[in-house]
Amino acid sequence: MDRRGFLKFAAGGTVGLVASPIIWNTLYDAVYWTQNWGWIPRLKKGESQYVPTVSKLCPSGTGFLVRTVSGVPVRTIGDKNNPVTHGAMTALAAAEAELRVSPARLKTPLRRSPDGAYIAISWAEAEKLLKEKTQQAGASVAAVSGDPTSSINEVLSSILNQQGSSDFYFMPDEEQPAAVAWEAMGGQGRLGYDMEGSDCILAVGAPVLESWGVVAANRSLFNRTHPVGGEAGQKLIYAGAVQNNTAAGADLWLPMKSGTDMALLLGMAHLVIKAGKNGFAAGLGNFASFAAAYTPEKVSAITGVPQERLEAAAKALVEAKKPLVIAGSALGSGGSAGSVMAAIALNMLLGSVNREGGLLDLPYPVSVVAHATDYRDTMRKRFVDYTQNVAAGKTKAPALFFVYAANPVYSLPADSGVKETIKKSGYSVAVASFMSETCEECDLVLPAALGMEAFDDVQTPYGSGRVTYALARPVAKPFADARSAGELFIALAQELKLELGVKDMPELLYKHAYALGAPFRAMMDEGAVHTARVTLPASPLFYNWEAIRAAASARGEEGDLQVAPVVVLAMGTPQTAIPPFATKVVTDYQLKGRYSVAQMNGATAAKLKVNAGDLVKLVAGNNVQITVVAAIFEGILPDTVSLVAGLGHTAFDEFSKGKGSNVLALTSVRREPGTGLPVWGLAGVKAARA
């Protein structure tokens, strides 16, 4: 072979290969494959519709437009026309279209077999079972609802009442202690807060921008009072143990030790009285002299709030035209009535009761279903008293126990007795949308439609300053075999030949709207929302200083460290757990892998001899022990660790299960001195490096 031959050989081979279609076709095909792996879902095109409705998963009843594509919800977008939430969204409501189809969603009725496993059954079978069990139970039936804003409660309570049982309960929430407090101070209606009318809000313990009250409405108010790049039109002062989301939006943060809310409020009362604010009502003198003991020095020592900040906060309240003081709990349940009483007293001193921008007396939601228990009466009943009595054998366990839209097994302290109550009850039925810890304890699990899949409603949620009424309308078909809980209970009542006075959900909603003077047609057809300012005759309030004094005598929790729980809506509610689309919102200072993260300040960490990233064991007074990862964050009081709530699920799906620890496991039920209210949410722990 000569040189020429070699060159010919090389060149010919190359040209031949390049000229043939082999290479080019393969390359083209290869690109096509890499873009169209069969296991990656394709998009479904279709007509988009935007239908206004309200969220039933988000506790604040966020108003949103559900975007459907060919009838399937794909997005939820804030509804600017909603007069309550003004288009403001929460992380939870924003995830609702995806929650609708999440792996934790219940698809079909489930019956527990004798060996403990669940068997999928038909609705016909489930309804038959339900009817039999209810008939057999007679008067021995109890129920708890975790959705106080829904009128489905009336159907359920009516069934119970007609069976001869008065054991219908709401899940413990923020309103129950507030109702006790308002009544103790002479309030006759329902406690309302006109946050919109106020120019300075002091929120003690209540995370108003994340979880307290009608959060979406609070946020939209914050938006409107804080123009972009401009001067704020409303001052917000927040007192809490952790510099949480609310503190981030507040003008002033009062770092207040968990459980010292009363001392702080009494200290503020002392300061505003000194500044000449002493709105008159019966008991003023006694209250003032009681509060006089709470000098800034003493309050600072008890609460940990620097004196000058106490004074700055008092000054802001005194100088404000329409100050408003709100008390609440970090957890949103198990809070004390005493701090709300003290907050009411502080509002009274400031003249912020029964006026615009102050505390208001609102009417309680009315009942329209025959034989239903009134909202107010249900609110007065204490679920944890009942379950603890059943657990202790003091009260007979019910033959039939309903859990509706609630997850008490997860969301109440371990010694609440709820698990035992379910176990002891003859038959337990969970009506829920997601496979929760409570569902896993029940004998029969019935899949409930979501707010966007069925008729439901949102009656004035606690924290509002107005009467509001919104309808949840079926925007999409219920997922899989889910069914409207309202229709389910109505059908049960009809089977049992009980009298409700309504034949279906639309009629029930119509009667409600009618009772409120709300425009039912517009609500039904266009998703309009009813709001009304209602002025009742002013309640004859008085300074119930004795009740305040009694509540103030509550002792704190023992332990080297106080646990400060933080609630974030991105973590979902006990009923939803963490939405699939919110796992990325959960931060690395809340959760790391399978451990909850305990935030503490540098001084605390030094004292405990731990570094950021170390594993730490926390042992609570009830001997529950959890392992957490330490993180350093200076926005937190000394000797305090903050843990985010909403972790430690053992049910639901892979997005929630096996992540961190449930902060409620560290808490125990106590009784508040004076009111006897079951309270929890505080925990003292001892820490050791794991």
């Binding site: 690109v31 890499t34 873009q35 792996w37 296991w39 990656i40 879902p41 394709r42 998009l43 479904k44 988009s48 975007r67 594509v69 399937v72 794909v74 997005r75 939820t76 403001a88 969204m89 929460t90 992380a91 409501a93 924003a94 995830a95 609708r100 189809v101 999440s102 969603r105 921008l209 946020r219 914050f222 938006n223 972009v228 790049g229 510099q243 989301n245 981030a248 939006g249 770092p255 991105a570 939405p579 699939p580 689309f581 919110a582 796992t583 990325k584 919102v585 959960v586 931060t587 690395d588 959760l591 790391k592 892998g593 300040n601 540098g602 001084a603 200076e634 926005g635 009081l637 997005f655």
Partner: protein
Amino acid sequence: MSSEVKQFKIRWGMVIDIDKCTGCGACMVACQAENNVAPAVDGSNKLRSLNWLTVFRLSNHKPFPDHEVAYLPRPCMQCGKPSCVSVCPVIATDKREEGGIVSQIPPRCIGCRYCMASCPYHARYFNWYDPKWPGDLAQALTPDVSTRMRGVVEKCSFCHHRFMKAQEAAVARGEDPMNLPDGAYITACTEACPNGAITFGDLNNPAHKVHELIKSPYAFRLLERLGTEPQVYYLSRREWVRREGDNYLEHEKTGEATKQG
């Protein structure tokens, strides 16, 4: 060595008022849902969770009780002089179209991750595995944004599909698609923010709010000294927050260094 600042008639931009942001994360959820970003089972590993928009927690670095906190949502900055565009070997990312949005074309991307290395904002994310929508979650995919595949980089597009929709709507109304009214096109995060912390619009258009907002003495951009010319602006009345927006030597003051930079 590096491309120059590109000029456009329309320059879509964001003004994020940090003093209004409380870090709730609604924007992040909305972004994922809108753009068909697959959910992550473990989102706590921030180095592996694909998120076009991330909210950072800022600290004034003072010990308790003088500590202050702020939250900073970080979308893609849509830089005027993007560090990523010039480095991409296959033009999978570009800044060419009117509006100044830095595009990203996943089917073109070969997954070399050079753009990720170039971006000081960490705005770019990689598909370490094929995206997964467990169970029936894929039913909730929107029809607007194609799903991606493993091995490609993706990032915030300022919800570019909404820009196109807004333009189509303008054409249908007989209006100029190149002169959209303020608010006709906004991103999903802007829409979702309950606190109204995000304002979106054409930075060049005097009829748009953002045009004025960026002139505020409180306005700043992230890492301006590097010369990336971001189209995302931030606002804060707090000096320490503005100082967190860029690197400063001890003696340097925020306003001055930025101007010289």
